[in-house]
Structure formats: C-alpha cells, structure tokens
Symmetry: C2
Subunit: 479 residues, 2 copies
C-alpha cells in the first residue's frame, strides 16, 4: 500500500494522467516486466469475476455451453478466410520454437478463435438437428499491438469471452446477434452503470470476416467513444472457408450461418473512466468487490465496545448478502482509511463510534454524494436500498453526461468546429459512401461509431459531401 | 453424436485403447489440429467448471485472492533460479516474433508462473504487515512435451490453478503447504471419489526450485500412479533470486518463505480411468454435469401424459437443486438413450412410462449398480440420498481396489516379481540413497511416489542395497 494516497492530478485537468494514476494508486493494475502487458491485481480481478459471474449466468440461460479450444492457431488456418487473415496477421504473436526444436509451421497465439473453432465445427455439424450450435469460451487473447499500451484498454494480452454459434438460416443468426448484443447492453447499463447506444458498424469498421457487426458504444468523460462489446453476423463466410455444411430438413446440403460476439476486460477501463473522480475510483455497487467498508472510530477506553459493535454490524450485513469489509487495521487512522477506501471506490462507508452506539445507530457516507446519513441499528436492511440508489445515481449521472454531449451538426464546418472545441459525439446525416467516411476520419480523426438501431429522420444532406443522405449516424473519436 | 455408441474394447483387455475410445465416444475431448493439444468439449468443460467452482470457494475461504499475470515470461526471468530454469527450459514454447518484428528477447509461454509473479512480489512486499501474501491464478499452461500426448494427462496446453504465497517464517510456509494439500485431498476424495495417499516427494522427484514437494497420489486401474496435485515449500530459493525481502517486527530485513501449489485438468483423466467401465464413463454425482437424466417411455396414445409427467418430475428435481436433463428427443428410441447416457456416465437414470404413472411412481436405474428401484412420486427427495449413495459407493470401490493393490515387499527379487506380474503400488523400505532410487527406476521403471506422512515402522532393510533402511515408501510406475 502506497503511503501517498491522494491523486496528484485532477480528472478534469489531465484525463490521461489521472487515468494512469488512479489505476496505480487504487491498485487495479501493475505494470508487468513484459512491455505492453499488465498484471491484474486481486482488486481488479475481483471486479472481473463479478462481471464474469453475472455474464456467464446469462450466457448459460440463453442456451450456450462453455468450451475450451487451444491457444495455438496454425498460420494456414488463419489464412483460410482471406479478409480475416489480413485483419489479424499484423497483430499476431508467433511461436516458432518448442523446446529446442524449430517448428515446421508458425503458430499464432489466438487473436480471436474463429478459425480454430470452425475447423472443429465442420466435424460437429452434420444435420439440421445439430443446429443451433451455441458455445462460449472464457480465455486470454493475444494481440501484438504496436500503439502504446494503456492498462485495460489496449494491452498485448487481455481476458475476454467469445461466443460462437452456427444456425440453419440467416434469420436465426440475425436473431442471435441481437439477443447477445442486448445481453451486453444489460450487463453494461445495469451492472456497470454505463449507458450505451446500440447500432450497426459501417462496412469499413466491421469485424474482418463478418457480414455485419453490431456494437454497443459508450461515451468517456473526454468525449471519446469506447466500444464496449460487439456481436457479429458472420454470414456464410467462415462456413464456406471451413466447409461447415448440414443436411437440412428438405434433404439439401447447406452452409451454416454463423455469429460471434465478445466483451473483454476493457470494461474495467471504462468504469474507471466513467465513474471516477478527483478522489479516485467509484465502483458501482453491483460489481464492487466490497460494497460496504466499516471503519471503527474509538479511543482507548471505547475500543472494545466499538470493535464489538462493528463485528456485529459486519455479521448482519453479511446475512443480508452484502459484500462487506471490516477494516480493523490498527496501524492506520480513521482519516487514512477514509481516504484509502474513497480512492478504491467502495460505494458506501459505515462509521461506528461511541456516539453512534449511544444512539443505537450507524453513520453512512456515500462515495458518490458524501451525504452523511445515520441509520438506526434495527433498520440495517436500508443499506440495500442505499446501494441501489448509488447504482441508479451513477447511471443517471453518466446518462445525463452522455445526452448533454451529443451534438447535432448539419454541415462540415459545424462538424470541424465541434470536434475542435467540444467533447462528445456528433449526430449527423451521411450519404453512405466510404469515401466521405474516410475523408472525415482523415480530417478530424472521428469515425462513424454506429448507425443506431433507433432510426431517426434524416434532417440534412450528407454532412461531408452535401449530397442526399441515407442514414443518421454517430461520429466520435475513439479509443 | 456418433451413431455407433458402444465401446469396441473392454477396460480390462486394453486399458490404453479403452481410455482413448471412451473419451472420444463420450464426447469429453476432441483432437485439435495442433498436435498434442485437445479441445475441451461442453461436457468435459462442465466437469472442470464443477471442480473449479468447488475448489475456488475453498481457496477463497482459506484467505487467498485471485489474480492474473501475463502469459509471457522473458527468458532472463526463467534463468534467475537456476534449478527451476534447467527443469522447465526443455519444455518451453517460445515466442520470437510479434507482428512483423523479431523480438529482442525470446518470451516463454508460462510453464508455471513462479518467476513472473515473484518479480512483482518483490515490489508488493516491504514489511511483515504485507505478509502473508496469499494469491491464486486460474489459467492456461504450456509445456512443450515431446512424449506422445494423452488427452487430459499429457498435452502441450492444459488448464490449472496455481497458488503462490509468501510468509514471514518457514513454519508458516510449512503450515500453508499442508493446508492446501489437504484442500486437494478433500477435493479429490470427496468430490471426485478417488482415494489418495499423501506424502513427501524424494529430492529427485521434487519440483525444480523447491525446498520440498508434497503430493497426493492416486492409483489407476492399471496399477500405475497418477500425481493428482502437489504443494511445494519453495523455501527462500526464489525470494533470494527475486529479492523478496521484508522488514520484520525485530527491525531486521529478511527473505520471505514461499509456497506454490496446483491441480490441473489432468483430474478429468483420473476420474475417467478410475470410475469408468465397459459401458463408458461413470461420473461421481457431486461433479457430474447432469446428475439425473429423465427418459420418457411411451406409445402414441400415452405420449402426452408421459411427457407431462416427465416435465413435472424435472421441475421437482430442479427445485431440489439436482442437475437434471429431460431427454425429450424424438428421433431416438429409449434404448438408444439408455446406452448414450450410460456411455456419458450420468449417475442416475429415471424412466417414466404409463405403468409408472398408474402406480404413482418413477423408476430409477443407478449407473454404478444397475439396480432398478421404484420411487413413489411423493418421495422424490429420496433421489438425493441415492446420489449420495452412488458417490459413496464409487469411493468405497476405488478405495478397496487401492488397498488390495498395495504389495509389501522386503527384497528386490520380490520387487521385480511384483512389478512383472502384478499391478499396483509397492510398499518397501528404503535406505534414503538417491543411487538406490535411480537404479530401481532403471531396472523396473518404478519411482518413489512418496514418503507417506502416515509413518510406518521399518520392517526390513533397504529393498535394493540391503543396508539399514530409513523410510517406508511407496513405489509405482507413473503416468
């Protein structure tokens, strides 16, 4: 534990530096000796476990089974789907030696598992009765990024889940894509308290090898977009490359329709950015490692009764299935502990001192509001309501920020002006040409984050070329 | 699903072939296109999840936190503990290229994580207050084995957990080593229903880099030993190599004492071998993906009432928190389903036909005994007891086999005779010399599996050299 608890920089003043400092001081990640990789500490891994437990349950409830496929992908496999290969080969780490032997063929460490899985799918799928095939995998992923690493957001290794399914028809695959995107939306909005917009990626932004990609996009406090999860309809691209055919009810052999979808540990980075403040992290109660921390306040003569009361309250909160930590360390003052747990973003602090005991109460302090509220000892179940209120408040606050930072623009002057002077997303009309998309990116760094599912009326001509517009889309700079 | 369900070979006739066939036909694993790696199917991965959920809970209850460290280990790190390096370097897979760049230093894919973790421990540990440090990691492990692969038992990639701890004194490390070995013993005996003996490894069989290694050893039906889990006291070997020092209460700087311990997906291989029979797998109820399968038996005119009753029973069993599958597939006969679920080792089958409905009962058939027992519908909670009896019976059966296949020998003639003609472990006295140990291995392939914790009286001179014996030990051929 670092003795210098406070952050040296304000979130509003230097967002990038604040992000790195809060991650280090709140002990979420540690730089690893391998450049570009991070160490997930107990604290960040516990957040990931809470995300994982929730999501794994949803993935199983929607009929998927977990599996585990090899880390190694022969180069020849990656090459089978040409667009996919060209998308991933620049980021592959290659194993070329095993023991003291040089390998005949280079093996890529999975940057994603489509190719290694679908080779096997072709053996599992024979008849329409074998469909839908619905599987999921939790694993590590390797992408040899050349851009500078950023903890949780861009690292050479990260953790994720990847769902992979095969269906008899395009319609069923379409349905699966949306079903899982909605599971992600619920995870991110209801558990991480981060609002998102949902939509389709343009051709140039889609997953390499997919028919189309759907996405959930969140807005970070610097106005940039973070892609929180994607769900792809792969069409028959891979089933043709890997010969995944089934005998349909009409006795005809057909290629399967496939989907894949994933979310990763990048979600941890998002929640740091969206909810944190100048004091440190604020973790939404539903995924917080500790939802409540109890801090005893005593002098020599009151020590015994205070500690006893704290233990009693700890026990009662555990009975209510609240994740609680009783911080009974003697070498630190209450003030030091307040700062430390604020830095670490525990949603609710409970203070118990002699006066509280006298009044048969405990004192609560919310991390998101700093209200001090006394709660009667016999109404301790109210803590649950407070945690729910914090969860709701964090979401509402983030939603308000999101809505206030969407700017509607009608021409490229306004577009450039906004990108230069404000932070946020741009809502604009687009003609649908890749050329306009590309030029906007070149001139402003902004990309089309998605074509929203919630269709809106065209309100101008194309923001770039001025020709007839086809879509209302969101633009932003992105992580 | 393969149409040819039956096994073509008996367990007693060709154990090796039986093992491979049951794994394939019961759909536990699939060969992968990368030689020496397997694919964990939904069925085997579900067994692993049940093992993992149980063990993860125990690991947390004993105070450990989960973390995640990078897959990559720089070659220079591995080299810091010389004995450790020499033990693992022949089995390392090496990444030498990232994207299109040749790396400056080769990166090993973790064969175990001591070195990468302990580099960071040296930054986390400053004072006695930072101790004990208790962490655990669930991850994939790479060992580039040159011997032929065997699913679950020896593959280039497998899954495991690895615990890593640091303590102020040797005594505390000793205690941790035994505590976690006992957690493993309980996992293997009470969940997997496989009896083990516990003890210490000899110097030549210990983990490379450890002070000493403790082990749990099980006996397979061919009499060979399978090491099910190990727990090492690393002494100060790594803390000296990685400079893990702390300021003790007496104000002196001291090197930490460390432990590491692990179990892997090899446990799945053990349970296949120990419990399976000529019909296929038998999975102990506590870790079975499905504990009960319901199979409807009907003709056209009774279909509706039978299916309805099955659904009713399925619901009731779920309420009892039993993992149940109602097999309502129409394209297969009940007979086919009986065979399939026997092959897959579901502990209890429930049959429901018109006669059962008339008698207000269900018919149960145990996988381990084939008793047909009718249970009254209003006594359905009895199923729980039956599952517990199956669990107990599987353990007792394996324990009986284990005990009946330990042979006490007093001289090397008896030793060789036994190794040639019988299957099992040898209990013998040993002088303690590495030379005798080595020669016995050369002549019989048997190794000392452990020096048991349960000390027994020396009953002869050394089984090899005839000099005064120091220890009673167990010998066996090993996987």
């Amino acid at each position: 534990m670092s003795e210098e608890l406070g952050l040296s920089v304000k979130k509003s003043e230097n967002f990038g530096k604040w992000y790195l400092e809060v991650i280090k001081k709140a002990e979420l990640a540690e730089q690893s000796p391998v450049e570009g990789c991070i160490i997930f500490t107990p604290y960040s891994y516990s957040i990931w476990e809470n995300i994982k437990n929730y999501l794994d349950k949803k993935i199983k409830e929607t009929g998927h089974s977990n599996v585990y496929f090899p880390l190694f992908i022969p180069e020849s496999f990656l090459k089978k789907e040409a667009e996919h290969f060209s998308g991933f080969v620049p980021e592959c780490a290659w194993v070329t030696e095993g023991g003291s032997t040089k390998l005949g063929e280079r093996l890529a460490l999975r940057p994603t598992s489509e190719t290694i899985m679908y080779y096997t799918f072709s053996k599992w799928i024979r008849s329409h009765r074998d469909l839908p095939l619905l599987i999921n995998q939790w694993c590590n992923i390797i992408r040899w990024e050349t851009k500078a690493a950023k903890p949780f957001l861009r690292t050479k290794e990260f953790l994720w889940q990847e769902g992979h399914t095969a269906h008899a028809t395009k319609e069923e695959a379409d349905e699966e894509v949306i079903k899982m995107l909605n599971v992600y939306k619920e995870l991110v909005e209801n558990q991480l308290a981060i609002p998102v917009i949902t939509g389709k990626k343009t051709e140039s932004e889609k997953f390499k090898g997919a028919l189309y990609t759907t996405t959930i996009e969140a807005m970070m406090p610097d106005g940039k977009a973070l892609q929180m999860g994607t769900s792809h309809n792969l069409g028959q691209n891979f089933s043709k490359a890997f010969n995944i055919k089934f005998l349909d009810k009409d006795k005809k052999k057909k290629y399967a329709w496939q989907t894949s979808w994933g979310v990763s540990t990048r979600l941890i980075g998002a929640l740091v950015m969206v909810h944190g403040d100048d004091k440190g992290l604020i973790i939404p109660p539903r995924i917080a490692p500790y939802q409540v921390v109890i801090i005893p306040i005593y002098k020599k003569e009151t020590k015994e009764i205070v500690l006893e009361k704290c233990e009693d309250i700890e026990k009662k909160l555990k009975e209510e299935k609240i994740r609680v930590l009783f911080d009974k360390r003697e070498q630190y003052t209450p003030g030091f502990k307040f700062n430390e747990w604020e830095l670490k973003g525990v949603p609710l602090r409970v203070e118990i001192g002699p006066d509280d005991i006298k009044n048969k109460q405990i004192t609560t302090v919310r991390r998101d509001k700093e209200d001090r509220i006394a709660i009667k000892e016999n109404e301790i179940e109210k803590i649950k309501n407070i945690l729910e209120e914090i969860q709701k408040n964090l979401f509402e606050k983030a939603k308000k920020f999101f809505e206030e930072h969407i700017f509607v623009v009608k021409n490229f002057e306004e577009f450039e002006e906004m990108m230069k002077n404000k932070k946020g997303f741009i809502k604009a009309c687009w003609c649908g040409s890749e050329d306009c998309e590309k030029k906007i990116k070149e001139e402003t760094s902004a990309t089309i984050r998605c074509i929203p599912f919630k269709r809106e009326k065209i309100f101008s001509n194309c923001v770039f070329c001025g020709k007839k517009a086809k879509e209302v889309v969101y633009f932003a700079k992105a992580y």
